[in-house]
């Protein structure tokens, strides 16, 4: 597989755009159905379904962004690295919608409820941790910030380790009893971390 290097044509970005928008488009369809007739698109607890749908896709896209570097290295796809920021920012859009659904439809923007949750519900604390890490990364994702922060930019963006870790913990703590999906996400996460450990170990040895 190594050495399969495609050029970086415009359609690649368009393809990514379309692919990453698909879950949102589908959600749009479900919401329209839901507005026409309650419980027809998103089921018996539509608010809950909306929250979990956005949460699950947030996790998938954050893990995808986390997978960019390993995939680029192992498959020899240098062009993938050029879209890392794009994938990361797309993931952040899903995360924002997820957080907004929680704060608006669950806590109904009541500060007391939000603070109570932040402090006492450990899975929400973990979720907030992941959100803040991603927020910092999104804010400093511009070329300008990259230039200004110099070598610190790379250090700052190691926050992806924190974000993915808290996102996984957020999911595992919220479930009463874990299932297949949780196990798959956890395995993928462990795989992506393991790849990095192996990669750095190999590099140190060859240096």
């Amino acid at each position: 597989m190594k050495g399969l290097s495609l050029p970086n044509p415009r359609w690649l970005k368009t393809t990514l755009w379309v692919a990453l928008s698909m879950p949102l488009l589908w959600l749009g369809v479900l919401i329209i159905k839901e507005l026409q007739q309650a419980n027809s698109g998103l089921g018996t607890e539509p608010t809950e379904a909306l929250l979990h749908y956005l949460g699950e896709w947030s996790l998938i896209l954050v893990l995808l962004a986390f997978a960019v570097s390993p995939l680029r290295r192992r498959l020899g796809w240098p062009w993938l690295g050029q879209h890392r920021r794009f994938i990361g920012l797309f993931a952040f859009i899903y995360v924002c919608l997820h957080v907004l659904t929680y704060a608006g439809l669950y806590a109904q923007f009541q500060l007391a409820v939000l603070l109570d949750d932040f402090v006492y519900r450990s899975y929400i604390t973990a979720g907030i941790g992941a959100f803040l890490a991603l927020l910092l990364m999104a804010l400093t994702s511009t070329r300008g910030w990259r230039r200004r922060l110099k070598e610190n930019w790379r250090r700052l963006h190691r926050l992806i380790y924190v974000a993915t870790f808290f996102a996984i913990v957020h999911l595992l703590w919220l479930r009463k009893d874990s299932g297949l999906a949780e196990a798959i996400y956890l395995l993928i996460y462990i795989g992506l971390v393991a790849e990095r450990i192996v990669y750095h170990w190999q590099r140190r040895r060859s240096a």
């Binding site: 919401i31 839901e34 507005l35 309650a38 419980n39 998103l42 089921g43 018996t44 607890e45 539509p46 608010t47 809950e48 909306l50 439809l105 669950y106 109904q108 409820v113 109570d116 949750d117 006492y120 519900r121 450990s122 899975y123 703590w173 919220l174 009463k176 009893d177 874990s178 299932g179 297949l180 949780e182 196990a183």
Partner: protein
Amino acid sequence: MLIRKPTDIPSSEITSETIYLQRRKFMGQSAAIIAAAGFGLPAPIVKAGLQEDDDVTPEQIVTQYNNFYEFGTGKSDPFENAGALTTDPWTVSVSGEAKKTGDFAFEDIIKGLTPQERIYRFRCVEAWSMVVPWMGIPLKQVLEQFEPTGDAKYVVFKTLYRPEEMVGQRSFFSSIDWPYLEGLRMDEAYHPLSIMAVGLYGKELPNQNGAPWRLMVPWKYGFKSIKSVVSIHFSRRQPVNTWQALASHEYGFYANVNPAVDHPRWSQASERRLPSSIFDPNRRPTLPFNGYAEEVADLYRGMDLRKFY
């Protein structure tokens, strides 16, 4: 069986909810008349604990939105997978501190006992709730048949363990130690509100709701009301129920609905009443003992409900 199987009922006879509720109102009135005539059946118990704005949850939701991990952890899994369960024949083993113990056919246990209609509020520990019209037999009538001795302080129930029919019991990822187990103190079990439900919406109890019979204790979180019961054990000691064994800091033995005691991971102060719509989760405050405080609070007099959650 007193309640016919759904297949025996022609579709023309299956009533819509509106008609059902009208009929219910009529039956309620007749029950009141019967009670007044001295049959000793207190009519208000049919709707005990119900609040002014408690509308009965649509049948479709009650039968298609369930937690029954034996058939999968998703809310629609029980509806989709419980068809595989065979409930005939159904044997119940009775053991422990009672004079009559052994294996009994389910039909023989409920023979001669008349199911009563009970419209109960149902509050899940996950903070959603429903209002459900059950058909049930007072648990006391069921248990007294076995003549429990003075040493029986608790009654312990178990759900069927049959992985070949219960897909969730085959799950590699579940950390539940099957079979599912629940228990009550004897005075809780003998409380007039405690029933063994055998029907729903005037029909035989669907598999996904715990056929052929399940416990229904309306002032406790839903997980206490164990489904598809195959074992009744009279015990001297308080049992460790399934969820308590799994996470004792989150789920206790008593599990009384209590807005003042939060689940460690979420607030229990309010609940999402079903049905709900997308931009309106239909939140309402949760009531102490799920609205049954008047009837059951005495059972826990002097107990610290923060400690005995």
